[in-house]
């Protein structure tokens, strides 16, 4: 086990594991790679998944070197297929469930690529430079993709929002 994995394990055992066990589940460190910790969850998913963001916050607070935490099912291993596969899966989900909705605001989201579990998206049209773009990404797109793509580590918005020429909403100074 690497030093970083040992640190994550210690943080997990100290501040997370007892509560997870008390809720009827278990969680352990299966890998730490590229500063991303993968935690295997066994038992009741309902005991752990609602805590996912808090677990990540606690581990990142205890081990600042960690930039992201992934929860994986037993035996999940690496996500199926390649980065291109992940990008294609994301593209299909966005085209089916996000783009038809944001078209109402003249917007469109395109997948720019995927790398090591990170999916890069680019907002276009009315979404590019929109004052609510972050709401669209963090409250709409990201949770949807996280729920559908277990192999996803994170979502990066690589849009040049300053270059947007027709944002649906523009900010006002108050």
């Amino acid at each position: 086990m690497t030093d970083l994995a040992a640190k994550v394990t210690a943080a997990l055992e100290r501040s997370v594991l007892p509560s997870v066990i008390a809720r009827g589940a278990a969680v352990r460190v299966v890998a730490v790679q590229d500063r991303i910790a993968a935690l295997e969850v066994t038992g009741s998913p309902g005991a752990v998944l609602p805590l996912a963001s808090r677990i990540e916050a606690q581990i990142r607070a205890a081990v600042p070197e960690i930039i992201s935490v992934r929860l994986v099912a037993p035996g999940a291993g690496p996500p199926p297929g390649s980065a291109a596969n992940l990008a294609e899966q994301a593209r299909r989900i966005l085209d089916a469930e996000i783009n038809p909705v944001i078209a109402a605001h003249r917007g469109h989201v395109a997948v720019d690529g995927a790398d090591q579990g990170w999916i890069r998206i680019r907002l276009e049209g009315g979404c590019q430079g929109c004052s609510l773009a972050e709401v669209t990404v963090r409250q709409g797109i990201e949770p949807l993709l996280r729920a559908r793509l277990p192999g996803m580590t994170g979502l990066a918005d690589v849009t040049s929002h300053e270059a947007g020429t027709q944002p649906f909403f523009s900010a006002e100074k108050r």
């Binding site: 055992e13 100290r14 501040s15 997370v16 007892p18 509560s19 008390a22 809720r23 609602p50 805590l51 963001s53 808090r54 677990i55 990540e56 916050a57 606690q58 469930e97 996000i98 909705v101 944001i102 109402a104 605001h105 430079g129 004052s131 609510l132 773009a133 972050e134 709401v135 669209t136 963090r138 409250q139 709409g140 797109i141 990201e142 949770p143 949807l144 996280r146 729920a147 300053e162 270059a163 947007g164 020429t165 027709q166 944002p167 649906f168 909403f169 523009s170 900010a171 006002e172 100074k173 108050r174």
Partner: protein, 425 residues
């Protein structure tokens, strides 16, 4: 019997600690503040429910549709859909009244609705501060249908130079200095035109008030049960003296003498309480009136929100916390560090220099490369029509800087601005 876990904590307390508090974040469509609040919530591991008048219903975390103009209906929709939350936070001014209404219905600590309403109305502010004997400019309220004679009398009573203000606008929009009766008449006409363009009620009065010379500063703080904890004090080294009142350069921490700052903070706290504000962020603007031989903090305006635009990005608190994290922590009843941890820093808001269509902002790379510059954001899209103050309500963008001295911060911001070429046609 309670099982004790390693480290002395109980399973119950750990479980409670692991359950992310849910916060209702009310986000107006036209705000600079959405991204910073969402980033702050993410860093704090909070569960966020969005209420918005602009965000779309997407698959992840459905948005509750609200309208600031329909408080009752919006509050009803929220109460029907949201479930338990630990705090309600308005990301920007248009959502303040709704946040107060919803928090009150949930039994959460919040400002009284009438206090939020008063804080959004410059006439109500002046009246309440007068009743509390707070230092503020002499003022007169001029009704929408008042004759020119009434306007002139009001100006004569407060004395020249005076300031003609719209009561419901912000960001220095609809504010003009007048030096004599003729310019007062012209200023009033211009402000009324601006109000018409902004679709304000036709019966909205104007404020005519004394022009207070002196160093301007802003105080940001967080109220808890009426107690003000200061989070940041900005000096405005280029305090404008009219005829328009662009906010351009802000630097922090303040270089004013400590006794003056203490008096200013006390004045801001009294001003907030006089409005009835008790919880959450405030942003107060004051001038140090030194006309009578003593530095006298004088209230200009106060808003029940944190500093506007992207200005908060220049602030960093112990542990790397942002101002938005402090606002969220305050709403959750958590203690938070107060004064920023870093050294001198500043932000330069880029005013619109002339009306027209923004065609280009050239020289960004050179401006960003200026030593001391930590960020540059242009916030108006190329191709959009722009208006300078007093008609306009937006700034072209923001330049941020840090330095070992205030002088170096100002120098960096000035040099970066010089490297930008703004093309408006």
């Amino acid at each position: 019997m309670t099982a004790t876990e390693p480290g002395g904590e109980t399973a119950a307390s750990l479980a409670a600690g692991l359950t992310a508090p849910r916060v209702l974040l009310l986000v107006p469509a036209r705000t600079y503040r959405a991204a910073d609040f969402l980033l702050a919530a993410g860093r704090m591991g909070l569960g966020i429910v969005i209420g918005s008048d602009g965000a779309l219903q997407l698959g992840g975390h459905p948005v509750i549709q609200v309208s600031p103009g329909d408080l009752q209906g919006s509050a009803d929709r929220i109460m029907a859909r949201i479930g338990p939350v630990s705090a309600v936070v308005a990301a920007d001014t248009p959502m303040l009244a709704l946040a107060a209404a919803v928090a009150a219905r949930m039994g959460l600590p919040a400002n009284p609705a009438e206090a939020v309403t008063a804080a959004a109305d410059k006439v109500a502010q002046r009246r309440r501060w007068a009743a509390a004997s707070l230092a503020q400019p002499a003022f007169r309220i001029v009704a929408a249908d008042a004759s020119e004679g009434c306007l002139q009398q009001a100006a004569a009573e407060v004395g020249f130079p005076c300031v003609v203000k719209a009561v419901s606008l912000s960001a220095s929009q609809g504010i003009l200095r007048a030096d004599d009766p003729a310019t007062t008449t012209a200023a009033a006409r211009q402000v009324r035109r601006i109000l018409g363009t902004a679709r304000r009620p036709a019966d909205e009065p104007l404020l005519v008030e004394e022009y207070v010379p002196g160093q301007e500063l802003s105080i940001d703080g967080l109220l808890t049960a009426g107690d003000l904890a200061v989070t940041a004090i900005f000096d405005k080294p280029c305090t404008p003296d009219g005829p328009t009142f662009e906010e351009t350069l802000l630097t922090t921490p303040s270089r004013l003498p400590e006794p003056v700052l203490a008096a200013a903070v006390a004045t801001a706290g009294r001003a907030a309480r006089a409005l009835g504000l008790t919880y959450g962020p405030i942003h107060a603007e004051l001038r140090i009136d030194d006309r009578r031989g003593a530095a006298r903090p004088t209230m200009l305006e106060l808003a029940a929100r944190s500093i506007g635009g992207l200005c908060s990005r220049v602030l960093r608190f112990p542990g790397g916390m942002s101002l938005e994290e402090l606002v969220l922590a305050n709403a959750l009843g958590r203690p938070a560090p107060r004064r920023p941890a870093a050294g001198p820093s500043g932000v330069l808001m880029l005013p619109v220099p002339q009306p027209g269509v923004l065609r280009a902002v050239e020289g960004r790379a050179a401006a960003t490369a200026t030593p001391g510059i930590t960020g540059l954001t242009i916030t108006i899209p190329i191709g959009q029509r722009v208006q300078p103050l007093p008609e306009g309500d937006r700034y072209l963008g923001f330049i941020f800087a840090e330095g070992d001295t205030h002088q170096n911060v100002e120098k960096a911001l000035g040099a970066a601005r010089e490297r930008l070429r703004i093309v408006i046609q």
